[in-house]
């Protein structure tokens, strides 16, 4: 007999893995690892806003991430600083402002939970939210998939073939923000960032097409959720880090096996 909270955790984890499967490929291809990291850090500011102003933390996160992304693309057009400098400034500034805001609000917030998440506390209500997000993001990504892959390979070819690259890129960013906003409260900043990088990096080594890379990446995520949750229960260790540990283990395993071949 499996407890309800474990089933909830597994369902939530599967949803997160499936969404991250496709998105993470683009994070790896477009070299946006630091962007994903910065985005999830900035979400803490959104959570703080939500708490202070008294609205839902997910909506707060969505809004801050959106502003973050708009602000970033504005700065990118100035072309004075490189991307990682800008991301470094924005990520840590919003993280700090978030923490200051929470401390000034005088309310108790478990920061630890936001950094590392606690997938084992997912409620039935939140599960519904996760499933809807998973369906929405995956189907949208499926819809723009070929166009997004083409413009990732070469933006000018995509433009010449009448793809509106600005709109496709914006849709991709919004999907990424939806993913971060939905999941950060439950799985934590650390796990979100890892889910956006490690499964795709592992999957790349054993696949030969963009679509397969996304599917395998999603599957690896699901496996890591099952193994990670199991490991955290039997060894009594935090769940988020335990999932990341499994992800890393798979990455190293694949790397060693495929090096030999």
């Amino acid at each position: 007999m499996i407890d309800n909270f474990i089933i909830n955790a597994l369902i939530a984890g599967i949803c997160v893995s499936i969404i991250a499967g496709g998105l993470s490929c683009f994070i790896v291809w477009k070299k946006m690892a630091y962007f994903g990291d910065a985005l999830s850090h900035s979400s803490l500011f959104g959570i703080a806003l939500g708490i202070i102003l008294g609205f839902n933390a997910t909506i707060g996160t969505f809004i801050t991430c959106l502003i973050f992304a708009i602000f970033l693309s504005f700065l990118q057009n100035k072309k004075i600083f490189s991307n990682d400098t800008l991301l470094g400034i924005l990520a840590h500034a919003s993280l700090s402002i978030g923490i200051i805001a929470i401390s000034l609000s005088g309310q108790y917030v478990n920061l630890h939970a936001y950094l590392f998440g606690d997938i084992l506390t997912v409620t039935n209500q939140e599960i519904k939210f996760f499933i809807i997000a998973a369906i929405l993001v995956t189907s949208s990504l499926f819809f723009i998939w070929e166009k997004l892959v083409l413009m990732t390979i070469n933006e000018n070819i995509a433009k010449a073939e009448n793809i509106n690259t600005k709109i496709i890129q914006s849709i991709f960013l919004i999907l990424l923000i939806v993913f971060v906003a939905t999941c950060v409260k439950i799985v934590g900043i650390l796990l979100i960032t890892s889910m956006l990088i490690i499964p795709a990096a592992t999957s790349r080594q054993i696949t030969n097409s963009p679509g397969n890379m996304a599917i395998v990446s999603g599957l690896l995520g699901v496996i890591s959720i099952f193994c990670g949750v199991y490991l955290s229960i039997i060894a009594d260790i935090p769940t988020g880090p335990s999932i990341i540990f499994v992800l890393t283990l798979m990455f190293v395993l694949v790397l060693t096996i495929y090096r030999k071949n």
Binding site: E146, V149, I153, I157, I163, N208, S209
Partner: protein, 240 residues
């Protein structure tokens, strides 16, 4: 007429990158744009393709225009796993069966199943051309297609391009640096250094004082000699 640019000017950072350019591309044209770096060659292509709207002047496209474009400096990141065939068919109708004929015509059947990131520069160019031919265009626009090729690779590429031009009812507009090879194949040359310095058939343009100005006297002489060399038969058919 397929595309017509009338008096187009582009100003970037207070510098006139293109100045009063007039250019008409007709059916069956084979036009090569030559010129120094920063002379606005790529910008002109991008205006014609509609990536940029020129600050002055207008670009008119015929309703029957079907242009395809192969960009400058095409490389594929190793982190993207994709076979050459899948790249050619990316965002194209899967019902399109032309790939069989095209791969035979371009002699690329043996590389279709290879990963794009493992192909050589010459092979990549062929794959790009194959992709641009899939939708049966009537205008091929190529931006420095031989940039990453060595001399024999360039020679093969121009032979290959000539074959496409002869076999198909197609116009070609190309930016290139390979003066001598261009002179042998193209029908018309345009020298662009922010404005059109000179244009015309390769045989007449080398006598143009503007051309001599732009590329030097010795070079212009060498060009007119080189054209004869290119008529020799080459029996080697290296596949680079």
């Amino acid at each position: 007429m397929l595309i017509q640019a009338e008096n187009i000017s582009v100003i970037r950072n207070k510098k006139e990158i293109l100045k009063n350019i007039n250019l008409t591309i007709e059916e069956r044209d084979f036009i090569t744009i030559l010129g120094p770096n920063g002379g606005g060659k790529s910008m002109l292509l991008k205006c014609l393709l509609g990536f940029y709207n020129p600050d002055f002047g207008s670009v008119t496209k015929s309703s029957k225009l079907k242009a395809s474009y192969t960009p400058q400096d095409f490389t594929i990141d190793k982190s993207i796993p994709i076979r050459a065939l899948d790249f050619i068919m990316l965002n194209k109708s899967k019902k399109n069966k032309k790939i069989n004929d095209i791969s035979q015509e371009l002699n690329i059947e043996n590389i279709l199943n290879q990963q794009l990131s493992t192909l050589s520069g010459g092979e990549l160019q062929k794959i790009l051309i194959a992709r641009s031919l899939i939708d049966n265009p009537n205008l091929l626009i190529l931006d420095e297609p031989t940039q990453n090729l060595d001399v024999s690779g360039q020679l093969n590429f121009y032979k290959f391009l000539n074959k496409i031009y002869e076999n198909r009812n197609i116009s070609i507009l190309m930016v290139s640096h390979d003066l001598h090879m261009v002179m042998a194949s193209t029908k018309k040359v345009i020298c662009l250094s922010n404005h059109i310095c000179c244009s015309g058939e390769p045989s007449t343009i080398t006598n143009d004082p503007e051309f001599t100005n732009l590329f030097g006297h010795d070079f212009a002489n060498m060009m007119s000699l080189y054209r004869h060399d290119m008529n020799h038969k080459h029996n080697e058919e290296s596949s680079d």
